[in-house]
């Protein structure tokens, strides 16, 4: 059985090895971009069924973002929505025979987590300026500076290990059961895998949102209004 930590190299372009995960990732990106482009060409004030379905997805996303952050969803919709949709499609791409989900590879998850890490910095600086962002490391008092720096690294690390572990273990278990038992036996496990994929995509997006919100709120000079500041947030997750 192949090690889940290795990746299959399909071909090489110069010194760059193109693995199966990269090809799948680009295929998913192409599908998402072309799909989004094609579906939003003809938008109308009186929605067709297709447009209504799309609007429902965006509205659900907005509701989730608002409930998690207590803020307006507009600045985060693009990043969080793309993150969620990409991870969801990537997790479910294991349903296509012969395709391993790219999120079952360590590199893809690490790249996604690095994206979240940089977006936390970006949104934090945008909310409070460089000074406010740096000052947020000294909250609640300067003794916490090393711990806060450590926390901002470890939570990103645990995020990508979580995604990798969940998706990879699903693929791995299905592989083992299929090699032991036979054709139809892994189907319940694959159904469970669908649920895991959905939950993990959701959790990745929610955690990214929570981290961004905590950076924004820590860095902001003063909260714009009282009930956002008073709303309970999960800062120490």
């Amino acid at each position: 059985m192949n090690s889940p930590l290795d990746s299959t190299v399909l071909f090489q372009i110069g010194p760059v090895q193109i693995t199966q995960a990269i090809v799948t990732t680009w295929a998913i990106m192409a599908i998402l971009v072309i799909g989004a482009f094609a579906l939003t060409r003809r938008l109308d004030l009186r929605p067709t069924r297709r447009q209504a379905a799309l609007e429902m997805m965006v509205a659900t996303l907005d509701t989730q973002i608002t409930e998690t952050t207590g803020a307006a969803p507009t600045p985060y919709r693009g990043f969080i929505g793309t993150l969620f949709l990409f991870i969801l499609v990537a997790n479910w791409s294991s349903l296509v025979p012969g395709i391993d989900p790219p999120t079952a590879q360590l590199e893809t998850d690490a790249a996604l987590a690095v994206l979240v890490f940089m977006s936390v910095i970006w949104f934090g600086i945008r909310a409070g300026g460089v000074g406010g962002w740096l000052k947020s490391f000294a909250a609640p008092n300067p003794v916490m500076i090393p711990l806060n720096i450590l926390q901002s690294l470890t939570r990103v690390f645990s995020m990508f290990v979580r995604l990798f572990g969940n998706v990879m273990s699903g693929v791995f278990v299905i592989g083992i059961v299929a090699s032991l038992a036979g054709l139809l036996v892994p189907i319940p496990l694959m159904a469970l895998d669908l649920l895991t994929g959905l939950v993990q995509a959701y959790i990745f997006a929610v955690l990214a949102m929570v981290f961004i919100t905590s950076a924004v709120e820590d860095g902001a000079p003063s909260p714009p209004n009282a009930d956002i500041a008073a709303s309970p947030t999960k800062k120490d997750s």
Binding site: L5, R162, Q200, V206, L207, S237
Partner: protein, 81 residues
């Protein structure tokens, strides 16, 4: 006889087995508490289950860490290289 492969396989099995106990108990407690909360306040079911899912993912991470350690022992063992 070289005991390193044998020991790694045993340790991998023990890591997963014992690493699963804690998260299993913890997730049981978390779900029970969430059930209790939903029974008391059915209106807040959405918020509770969202928080529950995030919390379960956090708890599950410890088990996943054990799994990763086991896989490292089995497939990327520095002692066996």
């Amino acid at each position: 006889m070289d005991y390193a492969p044998l020991a790694s396989i045993f340790c991998a099995a023990f890591a997963v087995a014992f690493g699963a106990i804690g998260p299993a108990l913890a997730e049981g407690r978390a779900v029970a508490a969430a059930m209790d909360a939903i029974a008391r306040q059915p209106d807040a079911a959405n918020t509770i289950s969202r928080t529950l899912f995030v919390g379960l993912a956090m708890i599950e991470t410890t088990a996943i860490y054990c799994l990763v350690i086991a896989l490292l022992l089995l497939f990327a063992n520095p002692l066996l290289a």
